[in-house]
Amino acid sequence: MTEQPMVINDPASFDFRVNRAALVDPAVLEEERARIFDLCWIYVGHESEVRAPGDFRTRQICGRPVILCRDDADRVRVFLNSCRHRGAVVCREAEGNATHFTCFYHGWSYDRAGCLDGVPGRSAYPPSFDPAQFPLLEPARVASYRGFVFLCFDPEAMPLETYLAGAREYIDLVIDQSPSGQMEVIRGVQEYDIEANWKLLVENSFDDYHLLTTHSTWLDYLRNAGVEMKRPERGHLLPAHGVGRALGNGHAVVDNVNFRGRPVAKWIPIYGEAARPEIARIREELVARLGEHRAARVADTNRNLVVFPNLVINDGSSVTIRTFHPLAANRMQVRAWALGPVEETPAARAIRLDSFLTFYGPGGFATPDDIEALEMVQAGLATWREMPWSVMTRGMAKEGEQLNTDELHLRAFWLEWQRRMQMAPRRGVEA
């Protein structure tokens, strides 16, 4: 680490600052790889993306190529996508169904459970050569919570459920949209790069302070379409009440009363009159299954959840899973999917997807402006030597509730980031 402190937190004098070196310095990124990405639970994919034995997806996670797949025992597996022989990527397709993963270089092949079961010209190896010693390697830990599959490269890590802490309550709220508790990733991935530090997207994903200014064109779009946009009370910048909460272990959330419509289940004029009965039917099912109180919690609030360090689940105009990995100190790769209940009718599914696109995604009415904002921050951060500090004190002088437009939740992320950056890195990585 560099000599300077990266986060200054002095509640007594209402001071909270982030050193901008944390957002621009390649040396900081190298430390993050060892102290955060190699030690935290990291989202890989969703169980619904590999439904049948042999189904697989390949993706880059923490800079490593991995295979997410389902084996013949119907277990979801994660393998490092690299041949035990010379290291070549064994599966080069983005997705599919396979009986084997075969490295094309020398032909070593692995079954769905990762066991090496094919070695061309095996007789030339010494008698001591034992294929059982060379399965596709798995990360130290793999676990799922309610369909969300995570890996962890730290064998000593706490269990996933413990790690998720208060974030579990918010994942459960998303899952409660489904009568059977089964959500699925919908076909179609949005995959794009942002020329900005990855932590800027953490901040942006639940920074409601920027909504009014960065997304005025989106708010105008809602207003022009007949959505109720009055501000409810003094002190609120947005048309509904919302709070920011820290959930432990660096996870945090903004938890807002909905104004922007929800496929489950709050109709707005943008959905069209024809959609009203469908949304009402979904609402009735929710109330019958969960009771009025819980149904209202599911249907009438929207929540942007950050699971430390790089998973965002936004349950807003639709549900989006968004994850991102740094490619450089000033560049990240973003992937986003839509999530929906498996039993959703075609009409409801269409509303969900259409609703997603009004705000989210690289062609939406809001995300392109977020990308622009983050890239403008990164461009401005070239002045980091002259202006080393970013201010993050909103709400600090308040007793009690912190609004969604305050910054308690951002501070929670940064405090955990600081704590982990001060801890020892994983064994074998030089400090």
Binding site: I186, Q190, S216, R349, A350, G361, F365
Partner: protein
């Protein structure tokens, strides 16, 4: 093969005129090329043949959202396009295919074409959107209108293209 309902050279003229309007940011004029039920789609890179009812698209606008998109893009608060980018579109390999009539029995043709759209902004790298268009052109009274335009990007992922903040 019977004579096409729209000569290729006429289809080319139509697409070139559309491209010029978009390059010149004459977005209100561009809207006049569209039918009252027009749709504009950009499918996701991993599912170019998907349907927006079952697949998460990059863009799947009906006419209302196309108009809202234009309203947004004309607003200086559409930060991703302010200051506005310069674009230059090249269109080629135009093919005209017959297709089923429109909802009121109107004559329609499907026009395939390839595109390259370069996007320039001050201080930024050049972005190059390469792909193909599928325009459904509908004969309305005496002129052709766009009932459906699909812009399919060839890139495997958007990656360094970033967002699709302009109208492809």
């Amino acid at each position: 093969m019977s004579a096409p309902l729209l000569a290729r050279s006429d289809a080319e003229d139509f697409l070139y005129a559309e491209a010029a309007l978009l390059d010149e940011w004459r977005l209100d004029d561009w809207l006049t090329l569209l039918t009252e039920d027009a749709r504009y789609w950009v499918p996701p890179n991993d599912t170019p043949d998907g349907d927006p009812g079952t697949t998460l698209f990059t863009i799947a606008d009906d006419i209302h959202r196309i108009r809202a998109r234009v309203t947004r893009l004309k607003d200086p608060a559409a930060h991703a396009e302010y200051p506005r980018s310069r674009t230059r579109r090249m269109i080629g390999n135009v093919r005209v295919e017959p297709m089923a009539p429109g909802p009121a029995g109107e004559t329609q043709v499907l026009v395939h074409s390839n595109f390259v759209i370069w996007r320039f902004r001050r201080g930024e790298r050049v972005r190059e959107y390469v792909g193909h268009y599928r325009h459904t052109l509908r004969l309305a009274a005496t002129s052709w209108r766009i009932a459906h335009r699909v812009a399919i990007i060839d890139a495997m992922e958007l990656a360094s293209l970033g967002s699709v903040s302009l109208i492809l």
